[in-house]
């Protein structure tokens, strides 16, 4: 099987006043086409650096990042990004916000087609009727939905998400997991999701990668063998509970608290 994303032996350090701060240490990640890869790890372990590397916004000190059999050295149009902060542009309507990537990636696409494409996505995430609103008129969950639409409007090969649901309340978050699942069923894409939420990683992921504490190495890879049409209830099955428990233990090891009484 060919891997859409291939991260080979990536090592990276930030230059700080106190000397180099290593964040990634010989990291290896493979994500086959169409797969959903969730990445978990202790805070500050270099997860966000990973997203910037895959997006081509940064170059690693050592090692290689490959997308679609091509080495990534600069940003490419086939990537979509979503962050914890929905970063919608307040001077644009929701519809125009979703269209934004198309203006860059497909400058010759007729405006009517762009709007149709954006409307289709907005409808899928339940934002029909809100396309003319300003971002500040929407709730946090709705804004994040709009942000999701924007990140896949140009049909990217890879969707990179950096804790997109981190700032939402627990129930809204679960709603968005289901939205995400439905979007993936409707338009397949390969996804890298950075998260702190183990339940989220199991619900959405085909594989969950646990990174060690800084500098991050691949500490554990878990295959999630749940059916594709998961529901929130799937998280309350014995299989899911076992996976969550295993992940929790791995995180504890990553935090370096293996011997602690808990």
């Amino acid at each position: 099987m060919t891997n859409l994303i291939e991260i080979k032996g990536v090592t990276h350090a930030y230059r700080t006043k106190a000397g180099p701060l290593p964040v990634l240490d010989n990291l290896n990640v493979s994500v086959p086409e169409g797969e959903f890869c969730a990445v978990v790890g202790p805070s500050g372990c270099g997860k966000s650096t990973l997203t910037r590397l895959v997006a081509g916004l940064m170059k690693p000190d050592q090692g290689e990042v490959w997308l679609h059999g091509e080495r990534v050295t600069s940003p490419r149009k086939t990537v979509g990004m979503a962050f914890q902060n929905p970063v919608l542009l307040e001077w644009r309507t929701i519809l125009d916000n979703v269209i934004l990537p198309l203006e860059i990636v497909a400058p010759r696409m007729p405006q009517r087609d762009r709007e149709a494409r954006a409307m289709h996505l907005l409808e899928m995430v339940g934002l029909k009727g809100f396309e003319g609103k300003r971002p500040s008129e929407l709730s946090g969950g709705m804004r994040q939905r709009a942000s999701l639409c924007r990140s896949i409007v140009h049909k990217p090969d890879v969707l990179i998400m950096d804790e997109p649901f981190g700032a939402l309340d627990a129930f809204t978050r679960e709603d968005l997991w289901q939205t995400m699942r439905d979007l993936r069923a409707a338009e397949p894409f390969t996804c890298v999701l950075i998260t702190h939420d183990l339940r989220e990683s199991v619900f959405l992921g085909d594989q969950v990668i646990v990174l060690s504490g800084r500098p991050a190495r691949t500490q554990h890879v878990l295959r999630v063998d749940l059916p594709a049409d998961r529901t929130i209830d799937s998280l309350y099955t014995p299989e899911a509970a076992e996976m969550l428990h295993l992940l929790r233990d791995q995180i504890r090891i990553a935090q370096g608290r293996d011997g602690e009484v808990h």
Partner: protein, 254 residues
């Protein structure tokens, strides 16, 4: 009803102000060579109406020209400071120092360098006094742009120019207009400063000066009122522009 209130409330406030003024002058029995009262003003305006129109126009166009230069130069300077750390470190102390100099002290300097160029000197002063807030606010607006905003477009391979046009520029507009509201008043002060201080000046400032020379207090006060009216007009012109170009930044009031 709401529009009526919007017009009626400020109008009543102005009338109340004029009433109190008239009352104070009347109670103290001040003659009009000591303190003019509002009722002295209409005759003064009527008597010198052609001068007011001519001088008012002089003051207006020179202020707007100076402000225009300030917008151009201030925006460019702000962009340099917003995008480049080195430019920011280099320019900031210079700008702050320059801004701290009382601009009245520059009038004789400018007058000596550009002798007799009254229009030029006035525009120059309006510009010098008003570009600072624009440069600072544009600089801060650009340098505090959250990296995620840039990353959204950068990750698609957008050029720096595109990112500036689609994100940085519109995002900075509210700060820009906030600064412009300060600058428009400053430019107005700069214009009048030169008009009053420099000999053989023109504009409302010069008219004020001639009122002072002739002991014509009603004329002096009439000029002050005319200046206030011009100031209001300029300020609200900026507000109107802000509504058009950055109206989205105004939160709907509930």
């Amino acid at each position: 009803m709401e529009t009526l209130q919007k017009i009626a409330v400020p109008t009543l406030a102005i009338l109340a102000f004029l009433g109190v003024w008239e009352f104070i002058v009347w109670v103290n029995g001040w003659p009009n060579y000591k303190m003019a009262s509002p009722s002295d003003l209409p005759p003064a305006f009527a008597r010198y109406s052609h001068l007011f129109l001519e001088m008012g126009w002089q003051t207006l166009w020179r202020t707007v020209a100076g402000l225009g230069l300030a917008v151009l130069f201030g925006t460019l300077l702000g962009m340099a400071m917003g995008f480049s750390r080195i430019a920011r470190d280099a320019l900031y102390p210079l700008l702050v120092g320059f801004n701290a100099i009382p601009k009245a002290t520059l009038v004789p300097v400018i007058a000596l360098i550009f002798i007799g160029q009254h229009d030029f000197n006035t525009v120059l002063m309006a510009f010098l006094i008003s570009f600072f807030p624009i440069a600072v606010s544009v600089g801060i607006g650009l340098s505090t742009l959250e990296p995620e905003y840039r990353d959204i477009l950068r990750s698609l391979g957008a050029s720096r120019v595109t990112i500036f046009r689609k994100i940085a520029l519109p995002k900075t507009l509210p700060e820009f207009f906030g600064a412009l509201k300060v600058s428009v008043t400053l430019a107005f002060i700069g214009t009048n400063l030169v008009e009053i201080v420099s000999p053989h000046g023109r504009g409302l400032g010069a008219l004020f000066k001639s009122g002072e020379t002739n002991g014509d207090y009603p004329l002096m006060f009439a000029v002050l009122i005319a200046l206030a009216v011009l100031g209001i007009v300029l300020y609200y012109a900026v507000v109107a522009l802000e509504r058009i170009f950055a109206g989205w930044a105004e939160r709907p009031q509930s």
